[in-house]
Symmetry: C3
Subunit: 189 residues, 3 copies
């Protein structure tokens, strides 16, 4: 996952130029305009500090690293997703509804990672595959509904090109106690 | 995973025509004949209801969504896989032997997803990769034996083309409390 | 994962010839020389005994099976990774530092799997993607630090070609109670 590459604290995508300078300058892409209509902007993608990077191009595909729902460089909530309402747990839990919103943030961050290597999100011809990992209380079985947050975001901003194959699984725990992590493969031209 | 895209209840592949109409009509493929010899038929692949789809073509690869062991649109068993026989658990568990059979069902459903986009399973030149997720009691370490159910099925019906790379992991919980979920990448010509 | 394909007990890569005979003979590759400088040798890759294989070529990519940290055919430690020091657990646990070393072993074994199908590791043009699964105590959130063991090894021996996209997740349990499992996709020429 991309712990060493969160958005810079307080950073925004106002300039449209990611930290590694590979993006084209000028007008925002149609994809970014649709993001803006949803009230969303792409975060900056900070330079990596380890032997892995936010995204890699191979042929006409981009593979992203697993994305956590960083907003301005931090996780707004941590813990496992649980549908329980008993409130008796001594562990922090996150509701499915909240986790679904964070899954959408993961998808936005994944698009930022894609942009950092191809420069213009309008070059995306297809989101090929999404894998969504949900940090799950062992009794929580609604992973698909959580990861729909990512899938619906991709459909809204990419249209038919956002229709992807997907796996959603419930894992024991995620980095930094994040409730959700999303990776994707995008095809581009 | 493909929760919104189970086989239609009571559906069968008698016509060889999946729900989205992309399959070639006519005689069953050699792959489907081998499935029939094993007493198996491909389920129908229902139209997706969310922003993701059962399978996506990119270049000469098909990426499937994570497949659950739906049989006629429902899961025959739910719960985590455990090798324990003490029977003292208050949670539903599934034996490794049963889970292995369900892993084979996942593989059949993955082939149905592949057929829904390429029309004819005889076009498969190689199963490139399989990932098998086993919903596991934390003490259960026999994931490879469970996922062998999928691997052996693919080998039986595809021969050398069914020889794949594979990962098998034990996760905390799966969608709908399924005991197993399998995704794959197929190369086709 | 590659349980049926561990290195042969006591085996070494002194001859540079993996078990399946596909490797080129002669001088070690530059990659293997860098491994040797780190005190590492590639293990042999035993013939598979199931319907899956250690690695598959598709186009100009190699997909490896999930690799466990086998050393001379066995796991030196088993259990879940935990940062706790209270020592009150009745389950075997593995420290993050130890698990990081094992993640590096997984990466070496993945390179051996790649070599078994392309013959010469100097043909690798890019490690495209790494997925690291860490068998995690539910309170352990340092999966990235563990998988850095694999990422740093790949960077050391492959240089820029070792810079990959990556996901790291914490799973409930892994095959044979391994603390870590790593799979990768490599691009080659």
């Amino acid at each position: 996952m991309s712990t060493p590459a969160p958005a810079a604290p307080g950073g925004s995508a106002a300039t449209g130029t990611p930290a590694d300078g590979t993006a084209a300058a000028g007008a925002p892409s149609a994809v970014e305009q649709r993001l803006a209509e949803l009230g969303l902007t792409l975060p900056e993608v900070a330079a990596p500090v380890a032997a892995y990077v936010p995204a890699v191009i191979s042929g006409n595909h981009v593979y992203t690293s697993g994305q956590l729902p960083f907003i301005n460089g931090r996780l707004e909530a941590t813990g496992k997703v649980s549908s329980g309402t008993e409130g008796a747990s001594d562990e922090a839990t996150v509701s499915p509804e909240t986790a679904k919103r964070y899954a959408a943030v993961c998808a936005v961050n994944a698009l930022a990672a894609v942009k950092s290597v191809i420069g213009d999100l309008d070059r995306i011809t297809r989101i090929v595959k999404v894998v969504g990992f949900v940090s799950s209380d062992p009794s929580f079985t609604g992973q698909p509904g959580v990861i729909n947050g990512a899938s619906e975001l991709l459909g809204r901003v990419l249209g038919d090109a956002g229709q992807h194959a997907r796996s959603a699984v419930g894992v024991a725990v995620l980095p930094l106690d994040s409730p959700v992590e999303v990776e994707l493969i995008a095809e581009f031209a």
